[in-house]
Symmetry: C3
Subunit: 352 residues, 3 copies
């Protein structure tokens, strides 16, 4: 009998080695049906991703899939190797979108271990990885760093010396990827896109309340998270989670990003492409039944070297639960306002 042995139990903190490259399982062909389902789960309305005609009119081959759908699929692949025994997904940084992803493309993923730091209690440690999503042509479509707190199998296990990678506070505008092809900004129809505001109409420091709130159901976040083949147990198993820390299933943090991004259409309707993730933090957990509101602040504005078609806005997208965001809840005291669940600093592109 070799019982149990073939079941994967995931890596523990002491199993990771700096420089190790984890080749993740389950390549995934993305269908137009995935775009339909993503649309149905989040209600996204950015015209470039919604209509082939609109996308082709400005220079895309056809409507690309939503940047976050590609991100979640790549992220999902990394879960069995990186975060099956994670206690918390601590943050993202240095995320770049390098090539547009279209229905029909197949994505696979790898992660390099770029940092390790045991916690002082020796029960767990922080693992830093750089994950890449690669398409069927072998080209990297997106990459990002993330760090997670991972349990040790054996608290007494010796671990290698701590190494915390040097990650940029923000991706430099000159380093933004080419996932948005050169577009014909004059063909970008602001009537059809649903917003009259182009890049030049936004100011640094401007804050925008996205107004709409959306309540999340258990079925929705589980359907979404499985769509990405993300297997993290805490999202799916009420039997176990009912006995755990929160007494209920925890919603995948990426679900909050997608909800807030979809809500941000109201006020940022022409910010059609996420070009980079500067820093992302899941500040507090979200549960089914909660209603997510969102607001954005324009942290910075940048023209892009060699491009006069699009410009970049550095945006802080903040999501709060069960609290409208007309007064822009954010920090409070030493930490965040108790309603805040997401602090997502990213670059988005808009037509000039």
């Amino acid at each position: 009998m070799t019982e149990v042995s073939k079941t994967a139990s995931g890596r523990f903190f002491e199993d990771f080695q700096i420089g190790e490259v984890l080749r993740h399982a389950t390549p995934r062909t993305i269908h137009s049906g995935d775009a339909s389902l993503y649309s149905a789960l989040f209600g996204t309305r950015f015209a470039v991703q919604s209509a082939d005609t609109f996308a082709q009119g400005i220079g895309y081959a056809k409507a690309p899939i939503d940047d976050l759908l590609a991100f979640h699929i790549v992220f999902g692949k990394s879960v069995p190797d990186v975060s099956l025994n994670a206690i918390a997904n601590l943050g993202y940084a240095d995320g770049r979108f390098l090539e547009a992803v279209y229905p029909g493309d197949t994505l696979a993923a790898t992660s390099e271990v770029i940092g390790l730091k045991e916690n002082s209690n020796r029960q767990s440690g922080v693992v830093y990885v750089r994950t890449k999503g690669v398409n069927q042509h072998g080209r990297t479509v997106l990459e990002y760093a993330r760090w997670v707190m991972v349990r040790k199998r054996d608290p007494a296990a010796k671990v290698s010396a701590a190494h915390v990678p040097d990650l940029p506070a923000a991706v430099a505008p000159a380093d933004l990827g080419a996932a948005c092809p050169p577009i014909d900004a004059s063909a970008y129809d602001c009537g059809l896109s649903g917003s009259p505001y182009r890049w030049g109409d936004y100011d640094k420091g401007e804050r925008i309340d996205h107004v709409d709130g959306v309540t999340v159901e258990e079925a929705e976040h589980m359907i979404a998270t499985r769509l990405y083949q993300n297997t993290a147990k805490v999202h799916f198993n009420q039997f176990s989670e009912g006995q755990g820390r929160f007494g209920r299933r925890l919603i995948y943090g990426g679900h909050v990003i997608s909800l807030a991004r979809a809500e941000s259409f109201n006020g940022l309707g022409n910010a059609f492409h996420i070009a980079a993730i500067n820093a992302g933090r899941h500040v507090a957990p979200l549960f089914a039944g909660d209603t997510v509101f969102a607001w954005s602040e324009v942290l910075d504005k940048a023209a892009l070297p060699g491009r006069d078609d699009v410009g970049a806005l550095r945006l802080r997208l903040v999501a709060a639960k069960n609290r409208p965001c007309a007064d822009f809840p954010f920090k409070a005291g030493d930490g965040y306002d108790p309603s805040v669940v997401l602090d997502f600093d990213h670059w988005a592109l808009l037509p000039r």
Copy 2:
């Protein structure tokens, strides 16, 4: 700071002008995945929309998408411009389906303001629009009139003189659109379609109990409504709606039409195409947890000028909640039976 200003708050009653044409945002390419999702949400079984082989066998290019899916997508586009501040969606009329819609088509929409009438309390008024859905070839695939009660921003605002459009009680059979191509009725296989009854087998005055009841979940109606990119707030935000009129999220009226239409397969299995919407009213609200039953009455029967392949039945499709329809609940006293949620008068086509 230009805070809040970029967020769309929707038109109020005093913002509408007779004759104004609103060009709606977010063109939408329809994928076969949308048809899959629509099928999964409503369980439709009409063979023409289900199977390319069946559709091609009678003369379609391939299986068209469900008429109501096209309707909901066009309707959804009109919401941000017409009904974001609506108190109630009062009715539909003069709806015609002009061209088949296939996966791969891209739909956009416009609405012309065809009527305005302030309510006597001056808090709100009724807006009448004629909405058209247009495909990537610039051809109108469907059009319909609807009227909604819309809040005024300022009760004191002056409004133009009342104008109520003259809408037909029913679309004349000669005015039905060409969304159903000429079909080969002899190739229409009633074994595969699931019903032995053709147009000639139905009688005026006949009533049909569709028997089956379907319970609706929050996740289902929200997924459906977002699939259409319908942004009406009352469907999605439990935080706000919990403090509102009903204490809960209101289900998009079109969801009820689709549920009842899918149930009507049992008794009307060959009524494969909705050719016109004569009059539609959402008589009472539906909420998650409610079970929808439906029945139909054949109000009229019409041969179509120049066509011997299909005939039309004018049907009243009635949906009731939490009440089986064996005794055909409809009017009661001065109004409707309290169980009735939908009164949907339409023309459907069947093979002769």
Copy 3:
């Protein structure tokens, strides 16, 4: 008036005749969007069905749809003719998967009545059918026998002599179908597939706990069951079921098979194809809110005549509700452990 008469009420026990072939309604074109939705509902991760590149690399035309998705669609077609008045779905046997099913294929189905046996109480009887799913080329893609307990319309109705068909305890390895084409096992990449274990690594008698538990929501099982156009009333109607035997909607048994199969990836990640259903029993009902766990036992191992690319494992896949399966719950006393909901004996293929 011919009220009610056009509504199908389904066959009762006395309506079935041995040898009768029922031609089921509603052919169904399968889209890539169905695969997306199936993935989102169950979180399947078998690389062959997930990625065109992986499938093509070993010899498929492209990624086939999940075997169980094809099974459920064929099963769904049989419901209106076979089991609309069923009390219980008693079992499956002799199920064979004969040809791969790809997005774009259209499936139709027929069932032959192969057995009938009235129950001693004369209120009901067991109907045995052999159901076949046929693609647009007229080729059978899968077939299986199942038996269901069906109500009599009239307990006094005379029925024909009992006939119980002779069904094999298991499909013989030499009788497995050709749904898996010859593959290039050397091109089968166990890094991408997510499991290092090939056919030769499993031993007869080996048991595998699939560890992960998944909680089911009402919206999920209804969306899945409608995706298959399965119309069995007990899954959808809380109004009626609330007054019935269980007080709630019963989850389609096939939903449990798909959940357990998806969970079995963890431990059987290379068992990419279900080649035969030897015997399947839904031991107890599942309801929304329940969490499904699963484990497998290798009942047998077989090389396949004329094939050195793949080998077969005969697997018993057991699903239990609200109970982790580390100790492999199965029989207890005269029957099953009270937690067990599914006993599914099948052949699966793995690369050699």
